[in-house]
């Protein structure tokens, strides 16, 4: 007569078998994510499930902030109020001047029958937490699909460009900072209009202008603004200042390091701009030869 072992000994498959199973599952996911980006749906589902935990993690910070606010003295508040009023006055003056300038620009563009630049939708957002991934520079903001955030949206703060929305989950969105190694932004030197592309410098927190000729006309302290030719970032937003230029006769390109101007590692409040929607379609990948593999995903947008 056959005796099955008592349920006491039943432990399911051996740990090694389980390890092989889960490891191969992970490797499959890794390949699908890194090479083909097929698993963003799964990512969104997991993100939705963990959203309550993320809010819970934010609660002590919010509590500390509200306690600090409660104990702010009245004189400090009054001083801040005066400062804000004077800043508002200055901003209003600038606004009036820029409004007449913008009207002029629209008229000129119509005369030249150039494409009109659209007003972008702005969504204020707050940075919830920074990613713990030491390999990339990313932050998460508290606005997502439900608030109409689109992937590819530029992210700015009160001083300049912060980065770009790369993934959108239901309640939360992932912003890749300008300093990320895989992030690129087309810029222009404010002084002479020289165009370049700034790449992120990784953990160093700097930007690098690549492929600039060794004799390019650029100096330390030059201010860089977005050139707007990629159609993602609006033109004229502050990006950074040139920090250091190394010109080496042995190499044909100069090594130019820049410091981002926006509070990339500091600020909490940012503005998400909607991507410009009246652009011609991007060229297909087949026609663009030897571009970087992950370049299309940065500029891709859902139309």
């Amino acid at each position: 007569m056959e005796h099955s072992p008592p349920p006491f000994f039943k432990r399911g498959p051996a740990p090694l078998v389980r390890l092989v199973f889960f490891a191969s599952l992970s490797v499959t996911l890794l390949v699908l994510d890194a090479r083909f980006r097929y698993v963003d749906g799964l990512r969104s589902i997991v993100a939705f499930v963990t959203y309550p935990l993320q809010r819970a993690a934010l609660a002590p910070v919010e509590l500390a902030a509200s306690v600090a606010e409660y104990f702010t003295s009245q004189s400090a508040l009054r001083e801040q109020n005066t400062q804000l009023k004077s800043r508002l006055l200055a901003a209003q003056y600038d606004l009036q001047r820029s409004e007449s300038g913008a009207a002029d620009a629209i008229r000129m563009r119509r005369l030249m029958s150039a494409a009109e630049t659209l007003e972008r939708r702005k969504t204020p957002a707050e940075i919830v937490y920074a990613s713990r991934d030491p390999f990339s520079q990313k932050v998460f903001v508290d606005k997502g699909q439900t608030q109409g955030v689109l992937p590819g949206s530029p992210v700015v703060d009160d001083t300049g460009v912060v980065g770009q929305v790369t993934r959108v989950h239901p309640m939360i969105a992932e912003v890749t900072l300008l300093t990320d190694k895989d992030q690129a932004i087309p810029v222009q030197v404010l002084r002479n209009g020289l165009r370049a592309v700034a790449f992120g410098g990784g953990t160093a927190g700097t930007l690098e202008l690549r492929f600039m000729a060794a004799n390019a006309e650029i100096q330390n302290g030059d201010r860089l603004v977005t050139s707007g030719i990629d159609g993602v970032y609006p033109a004229g937003l502050a990006v950074g200042t040139v920090l250091k230029i190394e010109r080496d006769a042995a190499q044909s390109f100069a090594r130019i390091l820049c410091e981002p101007v926006a509070g990339i590692a500091r600020g909490r409040h940012v503005l998400l701009l909607s991507p410009d929607s009246n652009l011609p379609p991007l060229p297909t990948e087949a026609g663009s030869g030897n571009e970087r593999r992950d370049a299309p995903r940065r500029n891709r947008r859902k139309d």
């Binding site: 389980r18 889960f22 599952l25 799964l42 935990l53 993690a57 919830v128 920074a130 713990r132 990339s136």
Partner: protein, 168 residues
């Protein structure tokens, strides 16, 4: 060291400890490289203490959550946590014979390996080497081992009984 008999671990304790570890991970830290990986630490703890209750499946699922929450490659933490859980389960009978300091040494090795797997995966995917500072977090995590042990065993400890006639 006096060995005390512990009450059986409750599922609710395990679930709450994982939730708290995840919340600790998601706090807005200033420099994340020096923050220990609390989730890995708690997985190692339960795999060593309760290998029948927490295993590779739980570790893998938590890894997926960590990948999503950090915008890392999907499967990166899942892989490293599965390997961590496997080694912790294999070592579980051995580690508990040592004192708390030597247990922490074992855990340091586990956490370093976990970080190394993540590093390997990301380097294979084309990321740049982020600097040796990433290995500081696991070492700090191992220093937290006595604290974690004291905290997580607290619900299982019986109140001290003054009754002399009790056998155990």
């Amino acid at each position: 060291m006096v060995q005390r008999i512990l009450l059986p671990a409750r599922v609710s304790t395990i679930l709450i400890s994982f939730a708290v570890a995840l919340v600790l991970e998601l706090l807005p830290w200033w420099d994340l490289r020096y923050v220990p990986d609390f989730v890995a630490l708690v997985i190692a703890f339960w795999c060593i203490r309760q290998p029948r209750m927490v295993g590779l499946g739980a570790a893998w699922a938590l890894g997926l959550v960590m990948d999503t929450a950090n915008g890392a490659l999907l499967g990166q933490h899942a892989l490293s946590y599965s390997i961590l859980a496997f080694i912790a389960i294999t070592l579980s009978r051995r580690v508990l014979w040592f004192g708390i300091g030597q247990q922490a040494l074992h855990v340091a090795a586990l956490l370093l390996l976990c970080e190394a797997v993540s590093l390997f995966v990301r380097m294979m995917a084309g990321a740049a080497f982020p600097g040796w500072a990433v290995f500081v977090g696991p070492l700090l995590g191992a220093l937290l081992w006595p604290v974690i042990t004291a905290l997580l065993l607290m619900p299982q400890r019986r109140p001290v009984d003054i009754d002399e006639t009790r056998p155990l």
